[in-house]
């Protein structure tokens, strides 16, 4: 098929909608995201096909492999539509029973349903689960709802309506105006108003302009963009095409991490299908507008998430940032005017065009509009991808949606913004989600990684971890970042090893400010944030390491004695069983003893002991 007309597009939409909403057809939405693939969803899918065939149900039951559902820790996941019955942790062996009960007898299989960690009750329907109930899917509106490898399913969910509207009815200034009204700000983390960025590039002179999509999701603990690309690649393409129309570009690149192979595969399929329908490429929908998109695979450099470095990388060079100005809106890729937005930003655009900027701005805070996607992980009960309205408190994110801290431990901090961000302690959890609000408490909104830490996490060790990351990923171009972060890392290592002095803490603070003021790019300027926020809220832990040579969270192995407190030991023998070095002797009903000569300080026994008896 080539060059669809608008009426043909509408016809496809109506036809597919009818078949999806057909009352007699049950759709089994099996999650095919990276997380569920890893836990075995492909085997479950094969078992589904086999069972459906065996029972001759092919006419009644459709199996749809979706992108990431979002509730990654409980995979493989399956949602039965209509009805939204939500199954977790499926195995191929469960399938015959599931089909028998769910499809034939129309009763959910109780043991395979989600169990609420608080009430201990099984919850059958997806939307009744707290993890989903507090969310507001906009960027993620199609997650788990469509087969990302079928363009028709995207079209049926109002896909490519925005393209028609934009190309047929709107001028570039109209597009920019709607974007400004929406208040959408860069979801990569910096929060620059998207409409303003597009307007700069629109006004730039130049025959050749580029639209770039940043899918180089490098922050550790962030998987929002991967999930969007895996679940709904067409909405990103549509968003990019709208941006292209706004600035008059005819070429786009999606710069994607090479680690995201499934996302790259699905994007490739989406581009091919969109081209076949004439929704991408030359003369889109016979409007005379051309736009082509290419995927560019990164090669593993965190700094390439920085816009000028990313452009250098697409040019085939070492991905090193350069000073701005000139800004990319004037001189970007190959010295041509370019805009760069991240995946989540683009995925919001089609809905803004359909429903209008005011609709988008109807939720949120004064300066931060709309919704934000977070990747919630770490020591929290419900791990996965969530989308919440701006203004939701961090407490609601961690406790209502996240279901609180796992294993009945205590909340210590939530880390936002990755290596450029900071830790938020308990007493600030009522801070609403918003760019300014989060910056005020020493973290940043960032791209959406939210890693929850319980009381076993040592904040000095976390500061060291992030500095190690930054030091490793510093491109080496400017001295403050290259040398300054190394010096900070050395000081933090010294403190973790119990060799720290008070003056080290002072030096850390001083270096932080110097690097912030003098580094070339965002990576360096924000590199000290994790250390500064740890010092601000967890100063007592630094002092304990330095003055008393103890690690209160018992994570820094150099500061541990590896002895067992006989008063706390319950003589259970778990430490004995976990020791890889045979350094622990234990007999039933006797206190275990660690042989320090054999101990390799691997921490296995620490992790196993439930009573905190090892110190």
């Amino acid at each position: 098929m080539s060059q669809l007309t608008v009426s043909e597009l509408n016809k496809i939409r109506e036809e597919i909608k009818v078949s999806i909403d057909h009352p007699g057809i049950i759709r089994l939405m099996i999650c095919g995201g990276t997380g569920c693939h890893a836990t075995g969803s492909i085997k479950v899918k094969d078992a589904l096909y086999e069972e459906i065939k065996k029972r001759n149900l092919s006419d009644k039951v459709k199996i749809v492999e979706t992108g990431c559902n979002g509730f990654c820790a409980l995979g493989p996941l399956l949602v039965v539509q209509p009805g939204g019955i939500f199954y977790i942790k499926l195995k191929a062996e469960d399938i015959p029973e599931l089909i028998e009960q769910q499809i034939i007898n129309n009763t959910p299989v109780d043991r395979l349903l989600f169990k609420d960690p608080a009430s201990k009750k099984r919850v059958a329907v997806q939307d009744d689960i707290a993890f989903f109930a507090h969310q507001m899917p906009r960027a993620l509106r199609n997650k788990g709802r469509i087969n990302p490898e079928e363009i028709d399913e995207y079209i049926a969910r109002d896909g490519y309506i925005a393209i028609v509207k934009v190309l047929k009815e709107m001028e570039p200034t109209d597009i920019v105006e709607q974007m400004m009204t929406s208040g959408l700000r860069g979801r990569g983390g910096a929060g620059f108003p998207t409409g303003m960025k597009w307007d700069f590039a629109r006004q730039s002179d130049g025959e050749k302009k580029y639209v770039l999509c940043n899918a180089d999701e490098g922050d550790p603990g962030a998987f929002m963009d991967r999930s969007i690309l895996e679940a709904d690649p067409h909405c990103v393409l549509e968003g990019m095409t709208i941006a292209a129309k706004a600035i008059n570009a005819d070429k786009g690149y999606i710069y994607c991490r090479t680690e995201y192979q499934l996302a790259i595969k699905r994007l490739g399929i989406a581009i091919k299908q969109a081209k076949e329908y004439g929704l991408l490429g030359k003369n889109i929908l016979n409007t005379g507008f051309d736009f082509d998109v290419e995927i560019y695979q990164g090669a593993g450099a965190f700094v390439c998430g920085e816009e000028t470095a990313l452009m250098r990388s697409i040019e085939g060079k070492r991905g090193m940032p350069r000073p701005r100005p000139p800004f990319p809106a004037h001189k970007g890729l190959w010295e041509k005017p370019s805009i760069l937005n991240n995946v989540e930003t683009f995925s919001n655009v089609p809905q803004i065009m359909i429903k209008g900027g005011e609709w988008y701005a109807s939720v949120g805070t004064e300066k931060s509009k709309g919704t934000k996607v977070f990747a919630l992980s770490g020591d929290v009960n419900n791990i996965g991808l969530v989308e919440i309205p701006m203004g939701t408190t961090l407490r609601s994110l961690v406790f209502d949606i996240g279901g609180g801290i796992a294993k009945k431990r205590k909340f210590k901090a939530v880390q936002l913004g990755g290596p450029s961000g900071g830790c938020v302690p308990e007493h600030l959890l009522d801070t609403p989600v918003g760019y300014e609000e989060i910056a005020k408490i020493g973290a940043i909104m960032g791209s959406g990684g939210a890693i929850v830490m319980d009381d076993r996490t040592c904040m000095v060790d976390m500061a060291r971890f992030f500095m190690d990351f930054i030091q490793d990923e510093s491109c080496g171009k400017c001295t403050p970042c290259r040398e300054g972060t190394l010096r900070m890392l050395q000081i933090l290592e010294k403190i973790c090893e119990g060799k720290g002095e008070q003056k080290d803490i002072k030096n850390l603070e001083e270096l932080s400010h110097i690097i912030h003021q003098s580094a070339l790019c965002g990576l360096g300027q924000t590199a000290a944030n994790p250390v500064l926020s740890a010092l601000k809220y967890f100063r007592d832990e630094f002092d304990a390491h330095v003055n008393e040579k103890i690690c209160p969270a018992k994570r820094c192995s150099a500061l541990l004695k590896f002895e067992i407190d006989p008063d706390l030991c319950k003589k259970c023998g778990l430490c004995f069983k976990s020791c890889p070095a045979d350094a622990i002797t234990w007999k039933k009903k006797e206190v275990a003893v660690i042989d320090k000569g054999k101990c390799i300080k691997c921490m296995s026994c620490f992790d196993k002991c439930k009573f905190g008896s090892i110190f």
């Binding site: 693939h37 490098g218 697409i314 060079k317």
Partner: protein, 164 residues
């Protein structure tokens, strides 16, 4: 076809050179394609020997220094031979919080294999990678194409023993 003299190299056989030529031929006129060429050539040879980098530079008509600069900048590229199985351990925040360090120590204890290293018998290479984006399964290890979620120091060796 690219017809520069092919240097002799023990890890690159005749078929590999032919595949390398095809990669270069397909990309040599595309601006910025050198990263793609390096990636695809590494997929053929398993790593990027210096002789191969020079050959690519000639084929792409780029200065050798520039191609070497790119190859040494990006962590995807390895200038040293890699093992038959590459173990990628995720050292992202979520995996770190959930104990990847203990897993890495256990691998080292069993195979004498440090991050960035390869065992003497070229069975395993160990790479620490920054966030695989599968934080829901933390801690995560990828061996070849297989993702192993929720690994622990106690069971990591058992999983790895399946890779000979």
């Amino acid at each position: 076809m690219t017809c520069f003299t092919k240097p002799h190299h023990e890890d690159i056989d005749h078929n590999m050179w032919q595949e390398i030529d095809i990669v270069i031929e397909n990309n040599k006129n595309t601006p910025g394609a050198v990263i793609t060429v390096l990636r695809e050539c590494q997929a053929i040879v398993n790593y990027l020997p210096k002789e191969l980098i020079d050959y690519i530079a000639d084929g792409m008509n780029l200065p050798k220094s520039e191609v070497f600069g790119v190859a040494s900048f990006y962590s995807l590229f390895s200038l040293k031979p890699k093992g038959r199985h590459t173990i990628k351990v995720c050292t992202g925040t979520a995996c770190y919080v959930k104990g990847i360090r203990e897993v890495i120590n256990r691998i080292d204890g069993e195979y004498h294999l440090k991050e960035g290293g390869t065992t003497d018998d070229r069975r395993f290479s160990l790479e620490g990678v920054r966030c695989l984006g599968a934080c829901g399964l933390a801690p995560v290890m990828v061996v070849g194409e297989d993702t192993h979620g929720e690994i622990a120091a106690e069971n990591v060796i058992k999983s790895l023993e399946n890779y000979k």
